[in-house]
C-alpha cells in the first residue's frame, strides 16, 4: 500500500518547511544560543495570565459565539479604531480566530477559486504561499530588496497584476525582515488595489512594535492600509495578541472585514474551529483593557536590543539595514559565498548559535539570515561576539 498516493495532490506540491529541518538540527544540540525564535522572550504579562486563571476559577469553560465573545469584539473594535483609525462593527465585521494563522487560512479559503492569483511580497512569513496553495490558489511572490529596506514598491506590485489576480497580501512590519512600509508607497498600492479591484489581506500582527528614528525609544506611526480612503471595503485586516502582548501560546487573533467577507470566513470557522478558546478570549479582554503599559515597556526593551544588535552588526561589518519594526534583523551574508542555509548551519555547527536561513522565508530571502533580538541582552552580546568571530574566520 502506497500511502503517498492517498495524499491530496495540491498538498504534495508544498515542500517540507525549511525551518523544520533546521529546528531538528538545533534540537539535538545543548546550550545553543538562539536568535531563531519568532516570539517575544517575555511570558504574558501577569495581569493577563491572572485574568485567564480567574476566568477558569469562575468556571468559564464553555463554547462562545462563533464570532467570539461580544465583550472581546467590542474591545477589539475600540482598539482597532484607536490604533488604526478605522471602525469595525463588533456585530458583523470582527471574527475572533485561533491566531492570525487561522484567520489567514480562512481568508484564502473564503475567497479563492482554483487558479485565482494571489500576490504577496517575499521574504515573508512561512505560511503565506502554502496557505494559498492549500486554498487551490496560485501564489506569485514579489521580491522585496535590501536596497529598498525590504519595503514593497508599488511599481513592482503593478508588474505582477494580471487579469487573474484577486488578492494582494501585505505584512508590515514584516517577519522576517523587520521592514516597515513608507506611507507614500502604501497609498500607491491602495490606488492599485482599487484600480484593479483587488482584495487586500493585511497582516498587521507586529503593528505595535515599531521604532521611531535612530534610537527607537518612541514608537513610529503605523498606518494600516484599511484606513486609507476607499480601502476598508476591500481589506481584510488581520491582527492578534501574540506579539505585542506576548501571548503566542494563547493562540488568539482576529479578522476585521466588511460583513460579507466576515460572514464567508465565519462559514469555514464555524465548521472547522467552532470558536477560539474561551480562556484565551477572557485573557484578551484584559489585555485590551489594561495592557497598554506592559506593551510599551516591552516595545522599549525590544528597541534597546535592536539598537544593540544593529551596533554589533555595524562593528563586525556585516551589512544590515536598520529595521523599523517587529523584532528581527535581516543581515546580508552574501559576501561569504555561502548559501544562507550553509551559513546558518555552519554558524550553528561552529559557534552554537541558531539564526534562521533567509531562504526559509522564500527564495527572495536567499543570502540573508533572520536574527531575532527578542533574547536576553547578555545572550545577545555573546551571540553577536560569536557572530563576529565566525565572520572573521570566513573572511
Amino acid at each position: 500500500m502506497n500511502l503517498d498516493n492517498f495524499i491530496a495532490e495540491h498538498l504534495r506540491q508544498i515542500p517540507r518547511s525549511g525551518i523544520r529541518d533546521f529546528f531538528e538540527l538545533v534540537q539535538g544540540r545543548d546550550d545553543v544560543i538562539s536568535l531563531g525564535v519568532g516570539e517575544p522572550d517575555y511570558s504574558t504579562p501577569w495581569h493577563i495570565r491572572e485574568a485567564a486563571i480567574y476566568s477558569l476559577e469562575k468556571g468559564e469553560t464553555s463554547y462562545t459565539s462563533n464570532f467570539g465573545l461580544m465583550s472581546l469584539r467590542r474591545e477589539i473594535s475600540d482598539y482597532v479604531e484607536d490604533k488604526f483609525e478605522v471602525r469595525y462593527s463588533p456585530d458583523d465585521e470582527i471574527l475572533v480566530t485561533v491566531g492570525v494563522s487561522e484567520a489567514l487560512d480562512l481568508a484564502f479559503r473564503a475567497l479563492l477559486n482554483p487558479g485565482d492569483e494571489v500576490i504577496f511580497h517575499q521574504p515573508c512569513y512561512v505560511s503565506y504561499h502554502p496557505g494559498i496553495v492549500m486554498a487551490r490558489g496560485v501564489g506569485l511572490a514579489i521580491e522585496t530588496k535590501a536596497e529598498d529596506k525590504f519595503a514593497l514598491m508599488a511599481s513592482d506590485v503593478e508588474k505582477h497584476i494580471t487579469d487573474k489576480t484577486k488578492i494582494l497580501v501585505i505584512n508590515f512590519p514584516t517577519n522576517p525582515t523587520g521592514a516597515v512600509e513608507p506611507v507614500e508607497e502604501l497609498e500607491k498600492i491602495a490606488a492599485l488595489a482599487i484600480k484593479h479591484d483587488l482584495i487586500v489581506i493585511s497582516d498587521e500582527i507586529y503593528s505595535e512594535l515599531t521604532y521611531g528614528e535612530d534610537e527607537g525609544m518612541k514608537a513610529a506611526e503605523h498606518v494600516s492600509i484599511a484606513s486609507l480612503p476607499g480601502m476598508k471595503e476591500r481589506t481584510i485586516l488581520l491582527h492578534g495578541f501574540s506579539k505585542a502582548f506576548a501571548m503566542t501560546g494563547f493562540r488568539l487573533g482576529y479578522a476585521c472585514a466588511p460583513p460579507i467577507l466576515t460572514e464567508a470566513m465565519m462559514k469555514i470557522h464555524q465548521y472547522a474551529m467552532l470558536c477560539a478558546p474561551i480562556t484565551s478570549q477572557a485573557a484578551a479582554v484584559e489585555a485590551l483593557q489594561n495592557g497598554a503599559g506592559p506593551v510599551e515597556e516591552m516595545r522599549q526593551s525590544y528597541a534597546t536590543r535592536r539598537n544593540l544588535m544593529r551596533k554589533r552588526f555595524e562593528q563586525i561589518g556585516v551589512p544590515c539595514f536598520s529595521p523599523g519594526g517587529a523584532f528581527y534583523m535581516f543581515p546580508d551574508v552574501r559576501e561569504f559565498g555561502l548559501s544562507s542555509s550553509e551559513f546558518a548551519f555552519k554558524f550553528l555547527e561552529e559557534e552554537n548559535v541558531a539564526a534562521v536561513p533567509g531562504s526559509a522565508f522564500g527564495e527572495a530571502g536567499e543570502g540573508f539570515v533572520r536574527c531575532c533580538y527578542a533574547t536576553a541582552k547578555d545572550k545577545l552580546e555573546i551571540a553577536m561576539e560569536r557572530m563576529g568571530n565566525f565572520v572573521e574566520r570566513l573572511r
Binding site: M217, T304, N307
Partner: protein, 160 residues
C-alpha cells in the same frame, strides 16, 4: 516622560556608559555627561545592589514604623521627617496619606536595636504623637526582584 537613561539604570544600575550608548543608540560621552548631571542635580540619588539578606548572610531585622506627628506651622511635617531620616538606621522615610503620617523603614542588628531606636530616639522626639512598629518576616519581592526565582519557561529554539 522619564529619561531613557534613568529608565535603563533603574532596571540595571550596573550598565556601563558604553553599554547604555549601544542600547540607546547614543554617543557614550553624551551619556556620561548626562548621568553626571543627573547625579549632580539629584535625579539619581545613588546606586545599590538589591539583596536577599538571608542569602547574603545578613541576620539583621527590618521594621516598618508608622509614625503620627504633630505638623508644624510653616513647614508641615518636613522638619520632623528630615530629623528622623538622618538616623543611620532609617533606610527609607515617606510621608503618607491615610491613618498615619510617616512610614519609616528601620534596620537593626536585632530586635532590641530596633526597639531601642523606637523607644529612646523616635518616640522621644517632640512632635511624635505615636508609633506602631511592624517587623518584616519574609521577603517575597524587593525593588522589583523576586526572592524566589522560578525556572524559566522554555521556548522553542527555532520558530517561524
Amino acid at each position: 516622560m522619564i529619561d531613557p537613561i534613568i529608565k535603563q539604570l533603574q532596571k540595571n544600575s550596573k550598565l556601563s556608559t558604553s553599554e547604555l550608548a549601544d542600547l540607546l543608540a547614543r554617543d557614550e560621552k553624551e551619556i556620561a555627561e548626562q548621568i553626571a548631571t543627573f547625579e549632580k542635580e539629584g535625579a539619581i540619588l545613588g546606586y545599590q545592589a538589591v539583596v536577599d539578606p538571608e542569602k547574603a548572610g545578613d541576620s539583621g531585622v527590618t521594621a516598618l514604623i508608622e509614625v503620627k506627628l504633630t505638623p508644624e506651622r510653616g513647614g508641615g511635617f518636613d522638619r520632623l521627617a528630615s530629623r528622623i531620616s538622618k538616623f543611620d538606621s532609617v533606610t527609607s522615610c515617606y510621608l503618607m496619606s491615610g491613618g498615619y503620617d510617616l512610614a519609616v523603614v528601620v534596620t537593626g542588628g536585632n530586635l532590641r536595636d530596633v526597639a531601642s531606636f523606637v523607644t529612646e530616639k523616635l518616640s522621644t522626639i517632640e512632635g511624635v504623637i505615636s508609633t506602631a512598629t511592624h517587623f518584616q518576616l519574609k521577603i517575597y519581592k524587593q525593588s522589583g526582584f523576586f526572592a524566589q526565582t522560578e525556572s524559566e519557561p522554555t521556548r522553542l529554539a527555532v520558530a517561524p
